[in-house]
Structures are given as structure tokens and as C-alpha cells.
Symmetry: D3
């Protein structure tokens, strides 16, 4: 038996035909369900994945991997050894060994980055920039409100994705999208003097804060109970309201800040609770649009292979993006 | 000069051609704006109306009615005397005298009913029925929450219209629509056992409570500042949350009750903050649809003249309603 | 060779990996097509299923099952023996024996229930209730019309599904949905006195009667020729018209009853021929909405596994349903 | 007092400023309602018009025209004498004399043509062409069905408008639109051999026949009771079904002919009961679209003044039409 | 007869009731049509307006103003004297004298500003800024293309409105909107490095250039023939293509620049010829959205009277704007 | 080893179960991508197809087919030998030999027809008919413009598909659709005299000419770079503009011809740059609709198996088509 090759899911899938080839991979348990075969024996139906893809397989109770997977549970990271099989038309390896991964191993540089897609910007830098934007808010009540709201979220704001599907849909994506919007607002501040800068900045920093409550599970995010029953707009509104009361923000600024949160989705059918009716609310919803759309462009540029002229069709843009810059050979 | 005839706005409008005919009417000041003519003199542009219609006219500063109207202000009820003129293509009487109306006069039976459209059901009876529905809620926390929310509104819940345009759009309309939905829910309770009756009843009683905050001005309602900045769904949600916390309602029931409020509009584009995701929320939003639509039917039946086979085209139904019951002579 | 295990389709699918395992199942022939291989030999492409799922497989002409399946035909119930194979990425067993199932066997309790999804309510009870609702119609012409229409359908009304996809989409579903709407109408009758009760009840009992003609094949329903060329609204209208003429229903009641059928879908784009323009038609279309939506809720409650907090995403509700009742441990 | 000038409504309206100018016109009573002034006296609110326009005025009971108008009734043609007044911002003449018009007068050439917009093609010629198209149907059952259906309508088919608003919306418009579609179908027959010519021709001749029942009142058309309760698609379907049964048309051809009627509106939201599912039904619905749209073009060409380069904005085309042909001076 | 008072249209309308009052105003001939009265005499139907409003009146051929207006023609500026009348329900003065206005008079400061709404920014300053943005384009071919395109338009680009209805819909509005977008792009350049700055800037400067061809008539703009037949997107594309060929811009940059023009409307239903498929095109379309929406906010802030808390309902925002800044007394 | 059987893709797929069966087929290389396995070795992921279907397979670098496929490239036609395997749930043969196909072989009758779907009409005949329609254009400038535009396209117009998905989506489809529309226009010419025949004919012949530039690759068509960046409407407009200038067509006819191209898609959301605003443009867009829809009908009739009463559900018609003609046994 040859040495197991360390491989990503994308690499494993590329080896169609290499049946029996041993491998070893670090993977996230994306889904895990216990079922019962007709002979009465239990078996596991499990989805394993990393940032390059996901595959499903079945593990019977006489396999040593059975107990290890059950103990690990959904969302865990495990080291998997096995042999490649295409048993169900798609990759479906036979697992030979499953071992838990220690916190220390996970913390090593690059490890998490290989397991889930992360923001291309350095999270630590983004956090420092966020802190600076907060300090830049001159209105004391607004500044205190932003701090109180983020504190209330613990670290969830810093790691949450910005969306489940469309834009900045990856670890630290919410932080990245928020900071990028703050940069844009700062750059544009002088051009739109009718917009109160402190209100707009506080509104931007908190506009999507409800998303940190709408999803859970850093490695295998899914919608929470309150995400389903209230939605991120109302969750964010409630978070901001609580923070504003705690920070003793005057009622007028609080009302305007709440309005930015309630209206930032732009249209009722996109989830806004009301339509934007203050200069700040209109401004924030338009900056949100701009950065969300540009975020899709940036992600497509990162993910399109070097030789390709156009990206795949992008759902958010409804077309394929020309990914080669002007003047580059081959264009 | 003949005796002034006491006339409704509909009657005044029917007298096109009767220029110079004196009249006297009890009217609401619906809109009032002071403008300046090019000669520098101020004049009033005023809308006066009762439940049968509205007309506009102009009052110059040398008219004795000028000061009386200015003092009365928007939303006031005044006794107006004048002469019919059709001066601007539409009815535009020349006002001769405007006098305020005392509280005592307004309180006389039938007076308010002639000034604004009111619920066809007796408000006092509706209030008693509302109280009985509240007492019928078995779950103590839910019952206390409903009471606390309505208390918080003072009497606004009892007099507010249920909508600005489409259904139950008249004084006591919110109370009437709420009680009718409660009756329907009670009647249907046995048929849908998967629906928790106490939750559904509390949800119905409070589903539109935010409307009492969205509009103001019993005689000439217009959208409030918070109505424009938050909308009745979020206003109702916040009212219920506050009441639930005050009544120490357990978090799970509170979350479900809030969800009923947030989702009762049915579709995001109709203003729902989230889509109904509990049996109670689906049930309440469907009962709301049913009674709103039947309310349009009932209003059209009341307002269509006796001889007519069909109503006017109704915006909410997008057709004309056959108003003559089956078997009636003439059908 | 081990004893064949009696298994449902869901169980067979759960045994991925159990290649070669013998089984025996009672299945419906959902689709059956004869094709010709490039060597000129015929083979069958067949879909077999029960209420838990469906799989496809191929049967060559040298297989003894070939003739048995051809003779059985689409929509038949057969006893199948074979061995599990996952030959095409999905379950694709090798069939060893196919035998027809007698009427007597099919009539045994629970047999049909395992083959197709059926109404959760007892069909015999529903039929008795239907009869009582008919007898409760006071207007002789309307009562006779309902009877004549249902008689014309033979037993098709009692077994048809209420929809192909969305709600009450199972055997006896039409009967169940109709009776449930009748119960709701009866419960609400006192609240909407402007609605003629007999007309509304007759309209409810017949509103979807065209569906019994739109689909055929109790075990593998598909749209009929007239279902495709006329649609259930016009089929129901024509059925009711014929019944009304036979029952000598007076023209005015017939016109109003026909209007209920023609308008019950609510919106033109949902298939209504005209918009509801009588109190009865508005009432019936709203009750239809209410019960259809609640039917989706009830089905999701039945089908969601006990441990799950939320159902799968439901197309008709466009969200996931919270399936755990309030106050239940775990909530 | 000068001689009354014979004037059309358009001419009367052009004379704004000519107050007191006597006139005499032949007009249709478009609407007529008796109302009561606040002094208890009755008065008439009346709309009078011809093909060039319409105006409203009020007639009090002491005017000799009062009784004459009441006796004439809605839809009648009357000779009116009076003086121009602009009493309500718009033309509102003072009527001095109203006299009924005899059948003989109405039958004089050009008289009706001045009262209502009529087809620009000669109705007698259109009727002969219709008869020829009917005779050209080779299939005996289809031919007999078309004859029976048109016979059932009496002369209504020949004079009805084809629409209330959008295209061929004038007297004989239905006849004109039908004959034009028949010409187009005949011209295209050789190009689409998969279309059964007899079925398509019968379908075209009857596709809008329900419109002759949907509207009533040749001079002042309004929607009928059955037009509101059933719509022209179902009315046409029922008419054709009855005619087919009478003509003993075989069931298969009848089913296909009915399907053409039921589907010709093209989309459910435009009123189709089902979507076109036979070659003939697709063909007829597309020819209908083509001629309806070209009918709007033709009407705009007729109605745009000679000097104008573009028509008014046309609702059916959603733009202005360039009405000057290419190469014409001025272009 | 008193001295004629110099009055704006808004002031004239405010004087309802002041019949007979003489006035003198400087007005634009917005629409002018010659019609024939039934007595064969010609008369003029004319719309006269300034930036505060517009009114219609009729001028007969025996009025000395008749010839003067005919000679002036549509779009001209005239000095009008007359007396106030409300002859048609709305203001409809009797004109006594109409005199042409010299170029010199029009050029006087403030004169044009009173006749049509103009950009709130100084046009000369905007033009200088535009020139600087052009000079800032580093890529020689792109810079030359922008220059050639603007040169081709003569001065039309500098005075055209940016829209007929929604945003920056006033004289110099296109220039203002373009410069504001250029400022925003420059401010954001560092944040979106994947966007080629020269391409984006050239795209912004030319994105709406077709609008200078879509409308004509600085004082009474209406859609041109080519505006109706091609639309501003294709007109701009063709202008840019011609300019690019003239400036010998390399094909790749020209293709990308053309794509920005063709796609800047964002959605097909808003008039885009294709969807944005390069980083520059996405960027420009989003900046366009942002500035258009903020332009509506700014205009509402300018136009709402000081005492008002909310603006009128704004069609582009679909709500009323809160116009009072936070912290201001009264809020 | 048995003789390889010559088989189409549909036949190969029908032989599920015939693992190991040798075959030889003529196939198009639809997609070809080089990837790297985790062991560092390159392999090909390739899609092979003919007009009956397509399959994917993987070819490793130690297979002799590896180099042959790489050399052939995407879009090439190759002769493939191998053995049937269903290795990935779907057909995935093991390739043994891949050889290029000579031009001479491809030119043999029927060969291309087996590789891609082609127009059912004889292309040579269609080309002759196209030439005759061109010669029939009386206006010299229009005729020369059509010739110049088609010449500019080389032979691309004659082989291009008319659409990627919906109608006439096959080789020569554009030619076929164009000629069919020209036939229809000629047949209808006498009925719509307001339509300039030469303009309409030139417009029809060129309306979709941009599609010859929007797609490339006769055997495996995909959207070109300019197809993605400009779309077929603008590509066709530019082609026609260039041809018109070359042919010295007078500006007025050129403007009208361009307008037909720009508006033929009918609605902005379907890709029209402007709405049809000339009689010719309305006419061409309606004929386009008619023939496109009838083209879907004809294709469904060709592709539905003889025994079937209804086609599959057709996306363009949104229903199933009744494919059996009236009167045929079995109906």
C-alpha cells in the first residue's frame, strides 16, 4: 500500500479513476446524520469538506471511523485517512481512520484558511481599522452605542460571513464588508455634506450586525432559530436599540440610527422593514449596494483561473465577468 | 337672502349650478396652509370636509373667516356658513362665517359619525368583546402581555383606523378588524389543532397594534414621524416586546408572539419583516387576509346605492362587486 | 444467498454499500418506456416507487422480469425481488423476479397506504361528513346540483389529490381539502352574514371538482388530455353547469355558483378565469387560501422527523417551519 | 341671438371663450343620473358625446330639456340646442332644447359614424368577407359550428367593439379585427403546414365572439353582468360549445376548437384560461397579437394630425409612433 | 386700471379670486398649437411657464398677442402682460400684450434661473472641474476620446438636463451629475484597485453623453426624433465609438469604454443594452445609482419649505424624506 | 474482443449494463480542460457529443488518446474507439483510440447532420430563397445595405443558430428563421399597407444578424467576447450602420432600418434597446414573435416520439404540446 497522499477535496475529485489510491486529509464535518439500515444496524451519512469542495459518504457501524465521527459531531474538524472510491458516481471514499484535531493544530497558520474560505484581507488589520473608525465618530452617544453593540456580540461580529450566498460569503466577510463600506463613506464624506457623517458611520458599522446573530457555526454556518424567526434586519435593530439605551444615546439620534438599520436593504422585497427616508439612510443603502456588487467582482477575479478570459456566470451580476485587465497579453 | 340650508359636502356638490345659494355645514379642517399673494397679503388655502367628501377653497385676509380658521387649525371641527360657488371648476364656496364647535356639541350622538366614516359596529360593544377575548386567553403571560400593550397605547387602539386606504379605513376600524379576526380565530380553533390557541389569539389582538402609532389625528389622520421612519410592523413589534418584558412573559412565547407580528403582512413586498414560519403565524396572516378582503366587500355593500347592481370598481378587489343578493327582485 | 429482506425504497436507498444484498418489495410502476439498444435488442427503462421514494432501472429482454413488467404496465403494483446495486451512482437494483399483485392483496389494510401518500384523515369519515354538508344545503336546486356533479364524477372526487405539487397533494387530498373548507365555512357563517351560506357551501364543495378530471391514475397521477387542454377551472365550471342544468337550478343561482368556480383561484396569473365579484366568491377564494396554506403546515408537521426543530424549506411558504410546539422540552 | 352653429364636441371645446355662442348638435346620452338637490328638487347629471369627445352638464327640473332627456334615457341619440358655457372649468353648456332623433334620421349615411368611432373599413364589405371565410372552411362540422355560434349572437357580432380600451375599440371593431385576422391566417397558411387550416380559421372567426356578450350598448358600451361574472373567454367558450353540440361537431374537433378560444389571450395574466397547447392555438394567439398591435398602429396613423411627426404616447405600444412615412417631405 | 404686478406663475396661481388684477411676467412658451374654431377662425392653445409652474390659455386671432406668440414659437421667452382670470377652473389669464425678449435681456444674471430650474452649483466652476478631470486621465487615447466626444456635442453637454423626470432634471443637470460622479470615482479609486481608473473616469464622463442628443430645447426640453428612435444609451454608444475611432483609441480600450456606456443603466428593464461585465462597468453603474439617488435627496432638501419636517412623497425614493437635520430645534 | 459497434451517444447511453462492449463513434469535442492530479500527473477532463447527446470522461496521460485529444482541441471532430463503462453513474467510456477526422470526411452528406442538430430545411434552398428576397427589395439603398451587411459576415450568417436555447437553436437556424420571417412578411404585405415593404424586408433579413457575431464555433457554439460585452442587438445595429454607410443609404432610411434592429426584441427586459416606434418596427417584432413561437412548435413536433400524445413540457410555451394531429387514430 502506497503512502497516503495529503489532498484537498478538489484534488481528490480530480483523481476520478484512481480507485484504491490512499489519501489523508484535514476536513470539516459539514453534515452528520445517523440512519438505520433495513437489517437494523445503524450507519452514518456524512458530508466532509474543506474550502475546495465537499463530498458525501456512508460509514457503517463496523467501521472504526463510525465512533470517531459520531464523537466529533457536526462542525468539527477531523483528520481522515482512506482510499479513493467513486462508488456513487461521485467521489465516495472508503474511510479507514478518523481522528480529532486539537485546538493547537487548528490555530496553526493557514489551517483554517484551507478549511473554509476566508476574507482575503488580514483579519487583525481589519479589526484595527474597525477600532479606528469607531474612535473617529465624534458624537459621544453614537460612538458608545457602536461599542456597546459590538461588545454585546462578543467576537461573533469579527468572524461572521456577510451573507450566506451572494457577497462576502466567507469567514470574516462581515468584518471585511463593514470596514470597506466605512472606507468608502469616509472617502465620500466631503461630497455629500447633507449626510451627517457620525450617523452614517455608526449606521455603516452596525447595518449588518444582525447577521452575526442570523448565522452560527464558523466552519459550517447555518441559519439560527432567531435568524429564521426574526431575520437579520430586526435582529440588528433590536441589538442597536438595546445598545443605544445602554449608552444613553439621545432619542433622536437613536431613532435615526435605528432607521438606517431598518432601511438598509433598500427595497421591501429585499427585506427592508421601511424605505430609506433620511439622507443618511439613503447614503448607507447605496454604499452597501456598491460594495456588495464590487465584492462579487473581487471574488470572481480571485476565483477565476489565470488562463480564463471570463468568469463563470455570476448569479449576483447575471452575466460572466471579463476577468482579464485591459492591455494584458492575451486580451 | 334665503335661509342657509344645512348640507353635507355631497349635497353641496350636487348643487352645481346653484350659485349664490346660502348654506351652513359642520366640517373638519382637513388641510390648512398660509400662503402669500404677490401683493404681499397672506391668504389661506384650506380643505374642508365631512364623511361625504371634501372641497378646497381660498380665504383672503380681509375675510372674517380668515382668523377663525387660523385659530381653529388643522383637524378642528368648525361650523361654516357661506354661499355656493363653483369658482374653480369644482365646488369652491365663498365663506362668510366660521365658528368653532364645542366639545359638548361634538359629543352629541351622530355628530362625529357625520364628520368621518366610522365602523358600522357599535364601538362600545366592540370594546366589551375585545375585553372578553383578552380574558379568554388562558396563558397568563400572554394575557398580561396583551393587556400591557393595549394599556401602553392608551385609547389610541380603540379609535384608530385599520388602514389608510384599503380596508377598515375609518374611525374604530382597527378595533373592528381586530375583533372580527378574533371571532374568526375562535370559530376556527377546533379545525386547526396544530395552532396554539392562546398564541394565535394574542397575535391577532396585537398584530396591527403598531397602526395606532403609525397614524395620528382622529378626524384627519396622517402618518406620524415614527410611522414613516419605522412602519407599523416594527412599531408593533417593539410595543409587544416592551409589553412582554413588563409582563414577564417567558422568552419562548415572547419570541413566537413577536414572530406573529413581524410576519403577519404575508409577503416581504407587502411589508412583512420575515415570512411566517410557525403554525400560528401562518394562521394569523391568512385570517388577516380573509377579514381584510371581506371588509372591502362589506364596505362596498354599504356604500353602493340601492338601485345599483354593481359597485364602483374596487381597487382592493380589482373588479366591481355584484351588490344585489341572489333572489332579490331586479336581479 | 440470504433471505430477501422486505424493504421500502427509503430503506433500499439507505443501504448504499450493501451491494448484492437480496430484497423483496411491493412497488408501483411509475413510468415505463420501451427502448432499443444499438444492437437492436429492446430494453425497458422503468421507474419503481412507493410512498417513501422512487428509483430507476433498466431491464434487458433476456431478463425474466422483462415480460412481467411489460404486461403489468404503467400504474400497476408489482412484487419485485432482486439484489441491491448502486450501478448508476444512485440505487439501481438488478431485478430477478417481478410478479403482479392481486386486487385482494391491494385491498388489505395499509397496503395502498405504503405505496402512495394518503390523507391523514379517515376517508370513510370524510365521505360521511361530505354527505352531511350536502344535506345541510337548504336551497333545493343548489343541493341537487352538488349531488349531480359529484355523481357525474363517479368515485373520482373521493380519491383524487387536491394538487399535483403544493398542498393536499395525495390520495383523498381533494376530499380532505374540500371537507376542511366546508368545516371552516360553517364555522365562519355567522360572522359574515352578507355571504349566502348555501351558495358558499355549494361553491366550496364543487370549487376544485375539476381536479378530479385534471389528473388520472390513482397510484401514479398525471395530467389528463383535458387537464392540459382546458385546465381544472374550466373543467369544473363545465361540470357544474351541466349538473345545474340537469338539476334545473334557477339561472341566477347557477350563474353565481359558476362564478365561484371560475374565480376561486384568486388571481388571473394563478389560473382564475375572472376575479371574484360576489361576496360568496371572495369568501370561498379566501377560505381556499387559508386551508391550502394550513394544509402545507400540517403536512410539514407530519413529515419532519421528531428530533428536528425546523422543517426543510417549504416551497409554498418560502421558508422553514418551526415544527416544535411552544413549551415542549428542547424548544 | 345668432343662428345656432352645428358643431361637434371637439369644435365646442375649441371655442373656449365663446361664452353665449348658440349651437346645435347631434349627441349620444352616454350617462344619465337623477339626483336631488338640497332643496329637494331633482336634477339630472348627464354626459353627452359624439365620436370627437364628451362633456358633462347639469339640467334642473325647471328646464324644458329635463323631461326630454329623462324620456330619452341612457344610450339614446338626441338633438341638443343650447349656448356655450365653460361653467365648470370645462365645457358645460346651458341646454335650451333636447329632441329625440328618429330611427330614420339615424339610418342616414354618416350619422352614426359621427356619433361613435367606427371601423374605417366598410361594414357591409367586412360582412361579405366574413361569410366567404366561413364558406371556405372545408370541414363541415367546423363550418356549421361557426355559423351556429354567429347566428346565436344575432347581429351583435357585427357591431361590437373588439376591446374596451386598447385596440379596434370602436363600432364594428370586432368584425374588422376578426376579418383581418382571417386574412392573415389565409395568407400564412402555406407557411405553417403543421397548422390545420380549418381549425385555425374556425378558431379565428370565433376567438373573440364572447366580446359580443361582454359589452352592451352600441353607442355607449359598458360591461354586462355576465361580462363581469364570466369574462369574454368563458362566454366565448360556452357559446362555441353550445354551437358545436348543436352542429354535431365531433368531440375531438370541438375540444380543439374550445382550446383555441380558452387559450387565445396568450398568458394567464392577460386572461387566458389555459396556455396554448396545440399548433392551431399557438398560431391563433400569435396572429391575434400581430393584428391587435398593428390595429393600434393604424388607429394612431388615422388620429394623428397631418403636421405631426409623432403620435401621442400610445399606452399599448408604450412609446410615441413615428407617423410620417419615409421619404415624405418634412421627415 | 392698477399697475401690472410682476409675478411668477406660482404667485399668479396663488391669487385665485383676484380676477381682473393686471400682471406682467417673463415666461417661456412651453407648448404652442394652432387650432381652428368651428366658425373657421384660427386660435392658439398655448402653455406658458417659468421655473415655478405652468398654465394654459387660449388666444384668438383678433387678439394682438396672437401674431406675437406665433412669431415667437415654442421654446421662446416672452414678456407677457394681461389680467388674471380663472376662466377654466385653473388660472387662465386674458393676455393683452406679448413681446419678444432680447438675447441681452436673457443673459442678465438671474433671468434664466427664474425661467427654468438650474443646477445649484455654479456652471462655470463645474466646467472647469470637468476639464480638470479630463486632463487627469493618464491614458492618451482615452483622454483624446473624451475630448472628441464632448467637442462633437458642442455646448449641448454643458446645458442638458440629466433626466426628464427623476434626478438632476434641470439645466446643467447632466454636467453637475457627471462631475459629481467623477468626484466620487476619484475619492473611491484607492479602495477598488481592480478598477482601471482611466477607463472608469472616461466611462463616467461619457456615460450619459447620449442624453445631450436625446432631448432638445434648453428652456422647454422634449425628446428628439433620435431620442425616440434610438434612446440615449445607443446615442451615447455611437457618439463614443465615433470619437474613439477619430482619436485612434486602441480597439481593446474602445470596446471596454463602449461596454461601460452600454451597461451603465444597470438592468435591461431600465434600458441597459447589456449587463455590466467588467469591473469598470459594474463600478460606474453603481456610482451612477449612488449619485442619482443622492441627487433626489439634495433636490428634496432644497425644495422643502423650512418649516416642514418631511418632504412631499418622492417618486424616486417611494417615501417622504425627513428634511430636518438631527439636533435641530423642532426635531 | 467483439467488433466495435458504430453508435450514437443516445445508443451508448441506452446500453447501461453493457460494460466492456466495444464501440466506435464520430464525436465533437465539446469541452476540453487539462487538470493536474494530486500525484502531479496531468489528465484531461473532456466532454464528447453528437446531436443525440453528450457525455464526460477523464483521460490520463498514459492513455494514447491523451495526446490525440489535446492536439484536436475544443470544437474538433474526432473518431473515438473504446469500451462502454458506466464508471460514474453516467456513461463514462474508457477511450482506447482517438483519431482526427479530415475535412473531406466531414463534408460527406449526413456527417455534420449527425454531429449537430441542423435546420430541417435544405440550407442550399434557403440560401437561394434568401438571395431572391434580397433581389426583391426595390429600394436600391436598402438592397445594397442588406448585401453589404451579409457580405461582411462572410458565411457566418448562413450557419449560425438563431438562439442559444429557445427557438431555431441549431445549425442554419438563423438562416431558416430569417427566411421564414421573410416569407411571412411577403404573404402579409398586402394586408398592412401602412408598412413600407422594402424597409420591413430589409429589417427582417438583418434583424438577428448580430447573432452571427454573438456566438462562435459551429459544432460547439458559445458566446463570444463581443457577444458578452455588447449583445446581439447592438452588434447587429453596428453591422447594419456600417453596411448602410458603405452602401450610401440615405440617412432617413438608415435611421429607420437601425430602429428596426434596435427594437425587434419587443420589450426592454427581453433585450430591446428601444421600443418599436415605426409601423415597420412593430410589424417586424410581431412577425419575429410569431415565427419564433411556431418554430418551437415545429421542433417539438419533430422531436416527440411517434407514439406520444403530448410533447415534454416546453420552456418557451410553458406547457406540453398536443402533437397528434386531429383525426389521427389514437387521438
Amino acid at each position: 500500500m502506497p503512502e497516503p497522499v495529503s489532498a484537498t477535496v478538489r484534488e481528490l475529485k480530480a483523481q476520478s479513476g484512481a480507485t484504491g489510491q490512499p489519501f489523508a486529509s484535514l476536513l470539516v464535518v459539514r453534515k452528520l446524520a445517523t440512519k438505520t439500515a433495513s437489517n437494523g444496524n445503524p450507519f452514518l451519512s456524512v458530508d466532509l469538506g474543506d474550502r475546495t469542495g465537499v463530498f458525501s459518504c456512508t460509514v457503517f457501524s463496523d467501521n472504526v471511523a463510525f465512533e470517531a465521527l459520531k464523537n466529533a459531531g457536526e462542525g468539527a474538524v477531523v483528520r481522515v485517512e482512506g482510499k479513493i472510491e467513486q462508488y456513487q458516481g461521485r467521489l465516495s471514499p472508503r474511510l479507514a481512520k478518523v481522528a480529532p484535531v486539537t485546538e493547537a493544530e487548528l490555530a496553526r497558520p493557514g489551517v483554517i484558511d484551507n478549511l473554509v474560505e476566508v476574507s482575503p484581507e488580514d483579519p487583525a488589520g481589519l479589526e484595527r481599522e474597525l477600532a479606528a473608525f469607531i474612535e473617529g465618530i465624534g458624537h459621544l452617544g453614537l460612538r458608545a452605542t457602536v461599542k456597546a453593540a459590538l461588545e454585546d456580540l462578543g467576537g461573533a461580529f469579527q468572524t461572521a460571513p456577510a451573507a450566506s450566498l451572494m457577497h462576502h460569503a466567507y469567514r470574516h466577510g462581515l468584518l471585511e464588508h463593514t470596514v470597506r463600506m466605512a472606507r468608502a463613506a469616509k472617502a465620500l464624506a466631503a461630497l455629500y455634506p447633507e449626510v451627517n457623517g457620525d450617523l452614517a458611520m455608526a449606521g455603516i458599522l452596525l447595518h449588518d450586525s444582525g447577521k452575526a446573530l442570523e448565522f452560527e457555526g464558523a466552519l459550517a454556518p447555518k441559519r439560527t432559530r432567531r435568524g429564521l424567526l426574526q431575520g437579520h434586519v430586526v435582529l440588528g435593530y433590536q441589538l442597536v436599540r438595546k445598545a443605544g439605551l445602554k449608552a444613553k444615546l439621545d432619542p433622536e439620534h437613536l431613532e435615526r440610527l435605528e432607521h438606517v438599520i431598518l432601511s438598509h436593504q433598500g427595497q421591501l422585497e429585499w427585506g427592508a422593514a421601511v424605505l430609506a427616508a433620511t439622507p443618511e439612510a439613503v447614503f448607507v443603502s447605496m454604499i452597501d449596494n456598491l460594495d456588495a456588487r464590487m465584492g462579487m467582482v473581487q471574488r470572481a477575479l480571485r476565483q477565476t483561473a489565470d488562463g480564463e478570459e471570463f468568469s463563470e456566470r455570476l448569479p449576483g451580476l447575471d452575466t460572466q465577468l471579463l476577468t482579464r485587465p485591459p492591455g494584458k497579453p492575451g486580451a
